[in-house]
Symmetry: C4
Subunit: 196 residues, 4 copies
């Protein structure tokens, strides 16, 4: 089964998730600079989530680039990932509107963990489908960065009991780690091309 | 006429329907766990509908994969299906906000029945266009699962007069049946490829 | 210049326009059948507009199917059409919420007229680009149906001064005329294929 | 790495940004012509932003048409552009609802400047990737029009301290300059084709 429509549908959902978050930036009723300052936690929360959804789209792009075909199970693993990503606008807004209060910050972390878990299920199913000796399997390696991220989210949730801003800081730090695109696949792919 | 834009447009509508439903998860004004618990019927309703729209996208994907070309009538049958699917966010939200009260639960069932009917009209037009002896016609067979689903929705609506949760349970049960992707087409397609 | 991205972008806008209209179907706060009956003018208005946007997507699909390449001017003519179509959700909701009152009904007609005008500008630019002797030019012919529709919208606006429902009825009648897909292009295309 | 999904994702985001702006055109609760007149600043603001997003889509289309492949950095430069474009609906609505008051008008200008800066970063990365001697580099030239636009936005922000409508007028003037599509690339591309 081809991967064309999986990419098209996922691109659509990614595009909508990343864009509808801006609808939560409720327009203030007055036109002063102070009105904008009141929005700053919501805006900060928006920027963080925009970067996260951008990272997932970027990695998803790289991952499927190395994919040749998909199965029914992979379609559902992809939908499971999109489900958790679809909750990002909700927790983003809740966290922003409550000025990074503890409970929404924890929920944001839980959604990030579930996105990470869903992504690694998708990776594992793709590797299983293409074979452990495939280019894709080599390119993904042991996925240290993915496992590390989920660990940091866990630490962040624990630290939110000290102060929620510690957790928010860690979410931002993980985003920075990932802002560097997944060069593993790029390198392996170009490596294999030059070796031909 | 090619099927490319039909797929692209449908993917767009599917992606939007599945994503705008999350806009109905209204962000609570406070930041306690109890605020989240109050949202649980809306969330449950969202999960059910996400799975249903996912199922339809998945089956639509399989169906059009086995399709070679489309006619004007098929374009309209597809729009008729998308129309009923577009009502899913409305009934989802109504059912969730009213904690699975009887009237919204019945309406949810009616929309599911109409989606099922619209899907089978689309299947029938595609089979008619490709011929009764086509791979597509063989792959769809007698569509027992589709007919059974519409029957169960009818039973669910009847049972909603006893208690609406019986109906909701049956909607969930049908979703579970369909979570197994439509292997009929997959099997036939791969079968015909090996026999060549 | 290829037509691929023009189609992809237009499909996206069509998909969003046709889907966000359902967001205007505000979920009632109670769960009785009577709540649904109060929504009926909004629902009727939604159905009418869904059919109209579906018709435009369908005709746009046929039109670009017969198109080989596009120019900068054609991109802008297409955006001009999408602009007027983007106002359809606004007038749809205004007309529905005010139970087909005169002023919104007139505005709905004006938007329909502008969509029709924008579509015929797009057609004219495409014909000019492909040449008066092209398949596209022959397929479009004198565009009687398009001119007739704009005329009927004008009559409908005039009749809205007698009673707005006359206008609404005429809008519905034009939609019915167009529900029959644009067989002109289909016929010419298949005719030219058989003659080769 | 291919440019297919970059185009598909960007088209999705462009399509959503240009369409959700109409959601801010809140439907008046009454059905008189005067209700429509009250909406006129919001509508004017919508038209301006529709044209701007259309211009960016158009130029993006031309730019990527001349692109052969992309890198991870280019994906992020593109997301940076989409981020600033995603703020357009917010400033559009804020400016419209406050009848072009000074602070929102300044913010609108800042978003336009950032979009211009992000676009030229994207152009520079694409030129660097394709080489200074590439068709793309020649086609973009010194990007006078882009630099001029950012300069005019700066003047507009300064003039908003005299009167905000001066700024709004300049935003409109820049849009008019750009409404003429980017013929530089078109000409160079067709020029190089005829010289082959």
């Amino acid at each position: 089964m081809g991967k064309g429509r999986l990419e098209a549908f996922s691109d659509g959902v990614f595009a909508i998730i990343i864009t509808i978050m801006v609808l939560e930036l409720k327009v203030p009723h007055h036109a002063e600079w102070s009105d904008l300052i009141h929005l700053s936690p919501v805006f900060l929360s928006y920027v963080l989530s925009f970067v996260y959804v951008g990272i997932y789209w970027n990695n998803h792009h790289h991952l499927l680039h190395a994919t040749k075909s998909v199965t029914g199970g992979i379609l559902w693993a992809n939908l499971f990932l999109l489900f958790w990503l679809s909750l990002v606008p909700f927790v983003t807004d809740w966290m922003g509107e409550n000025h990074f209060a503890q409970v929404p910050v924890i929920c944001y972390g839980i959604v990030l963990i579930m996105c990470g878990v869903a992504y690694s299920i998708l990776v594992r199913l793709l590797i299983k489908h293409h074979g452990e000796e495939s280019l894709l399997a080599h390119a993904m390696g042991s996925d240290m960065k993915g496992k590390l991220s989920v660990g940091i989210y866990g630490v962040a949730i624990a630290l939110s009991f000290v102060h929620p801003w510690w957790a928010a800081g860690l979410y931002g730090a993980v985003a920075l780690i990932w802002l560097i695109p997944d060069r593993r696949i790029e390198r392996k792919l170009s490596g294999s091309e030059t070796s031909v």
